[in-house]
Amino acid sequence: MRVFAGIDLGSTTTKAVILDEEGHVVGRGITNSRSNYDVACAVVRDEAFVRVRFSMISEGRTPSSALPRDSAAFAAPADEGVRHSDLETHFRLHQYLFNLDRLRASMHAASETSRHRAYVRDLGALLDHITDRMRERAYEHFAPNANRKSDFFRDLAASDYMHLASELADPKAISFETLCAMFDAAILVVENSIDAQSFERHMSAALASSNAPQSLRDVVERVCAIEIEEAGTVGTGYGRQRLPFPKEQIRSEILCHGLGAHAMFPRTRTVLDIGGQDTKAIQVDANGIVTSFQMNDRCAAGCGRYLGYIADEMNLALHELGPLAQQSRNHVKINSTCTVFAGAELRDRLALGQKREDILAGLHRAIILRAMSLLARSGGVEDEFTFTGGVARNAAAVAALRDLVRENYGERTLNISADSIYTGALGAALFARRAESRIAA
């Protein structure tokens, strides 16, 4: 089976999309970005290929049968249905446990430095105790239909670890700071190493622990035997100087994003992407080719990171900001969003008696106003208008965007996809496929 891969190295997350020869999405992967770009690429690629295999398994695929085709396949890969299947959940569990073992080993290594010599045995025992408890927690995280706050090892592990560490730390003996330091050192090691045999290992463990029937084992064996050839790869993403690809295989994130959005919504003409660290306004033509673009790549205001600062200041989780903002009943006008002074401004306004939800609503509108300015600079908002990036999942931001677009440009069809985080990687994969067909032609 020949496939094409697109990899998008973002500032917060790294994504991969796998397309088959007909251009349908057969696998996707996402992982948190990390300092070693090569590892991030390898990990996300692995993730995506795991998905490919699972989708083939779920469809009972054999070399002679084809995956069912949906004409709107770009909206979501056909494997979504099996996301919580028993086998896959077990697979994920074993992946997690494997990483947890590596974390344990790395933390022990970190504890054996001279500065902890005085209490290295106690520290070691405590680390074991914590990781044992984390192991128990793991089974809960990956129980059928469990609700995990994240699928990334780093997030889940950190959350559990910190919780346990604060519970078990003793300022007079092993302090919380010491325990944090162990985790911080170890997680980098875990994140930046690749495990070559992971798929086979975790799959056999999963088959065992899920008591898979023989029929399923047969399917798995057949699927694992299918050779998947990566016929072409394109990489994209911020800070592309260090992308681990040859130059010919790199495409600008602007172009990838534009083409990806076009694939998801063929009638789109304007695309707005508010990412963590930058914001892009892109105009595309009927073929998905970019005709003009503007970027804010130098100011945190108007980017997703700003909301992160606000969330920190208000002691809320990011996903809580939108819903709270939507409770606003009074208009609070906030004109500037300089991130540096965000905290001070917030405190000032709260002191003036303004309500949190009203301030938040004003802040959301302020961010979108900056995006409107960028859009105007790029050529305006044409029909249809696609909104991508993490901030697109924030209902208050979307509402503010709808209002401002209507006020300034009239009615526009606003496209938002839950999968918009994959837009860049999708575009990259499409470029990979296009390049291959051009060579072949």
């Binding site: 004109n335 300089c338 002074f341 001070a344 401004e345 000032d348």
Partner: protein
């Protein structure tokens, strides 16, 4: 310009009498603004800057005759308002925001920080001509004469004699001010490039001063409040009487 305006107004021409009438109306408006500024300087607690600014700004969006009446009413009402009391504030001259209008909150912040603004160059367009324009004689000549020789000082105007700070020092003296605040909008080359020249002159004359810059339409005043407050305090606590 005269022809262009006639065309815009849908008229055949604008004659000398039309111009003279208009000049007289604007002379009145300028006179009442001068009165307001004089009264404000005498008793700034009766005429807070944040209020004066709004009343002046109204002049940009209403016929001058109405504006003149509005301002007379305001002056009267403020004088009679017994709830306005003198406060232990510092008297300052505010300069640098002659073009890009500051957000209202900035002016409120300055006053809350303990500054009574006794003169400023806000909305300087309304006070561009510093005396009445002659109503007798050739109105265009009179306007040109006034524009060339009786118009306000500003960072955007060339000072042939090199004395950039003249109006500021004059104002400081005339209004019995205790300090000068230079506040410019970001990216304003005229005001920002002027500041070092004004500052060196203020230093030579021993005039206390502080400088800052604000971003257009900002809502973030914490830093300005700190700075203006410290400045105001320092004048009151450490200046020699």
């Amino acid at each position: 310009m005269r022809d262009d305006f006639a065309r815009l107004a849908g008229r055949d021409e604008i004659d000398d009498d039309d111009l003279r009438d208009s000049i007289a109306i604007y002379n009145d408006n300028r006179a009442v603004i001068r009165d307001l500024y004089r009264e404000r300087s005498r008793a700034p607690w009766l005429f807070p800057l944040s209020e004066v600014f709004l009343f002046l700004r109204a002049g940009n969006v209403m016929p001058p005759e109405e504006h003149t009446m509005l301002l007379r009413d305001y002056i009267r009402a403020a004088r009679q308002d017994e709830s306005r009391r003198e406060q232990d504030h510092s008297r300052v001259v505010l300069a640098g925001m002659f073009c890009e209008q500051p957000p209202h909150g900035l002016l409120v912040t300055l006053e809350r920080a303990g500054c009574d603004v006794v003169d400023d160059d806000l909305l300087v367009g309304l006070r561009w001509l510093t005396r009445d324009v002659d109503v007798e004689g050739d109105p265009l000549e009179n306007l040109v004469e006034a524009y060339l020789f009786a118009s306000a000082s500003s960072a955007s105007r060339y000072a042939p004699d090199g004395d950039r700070a003249k109006w500021l020092i004059d104002s400081y003296t005339r209004n019995n001010a205790e300090g000068v605040i230079l506040c410019a909008p970001s990216f304003c080359d005229p005001a920002l490039l002027d500041q070092p020249m004004l500052v060196s002159r203020l230093d030579r004359e021993g005039v206390p001063h502080t400088e800052f810059k604000y971003a257009e339409d900002t809502g973030q005043f914490a830093v300005i409040r700190e700075q203006a407050g410290t400045f105001s305090d320092s004048i009151r606590l450490w200046s020699t009487p």
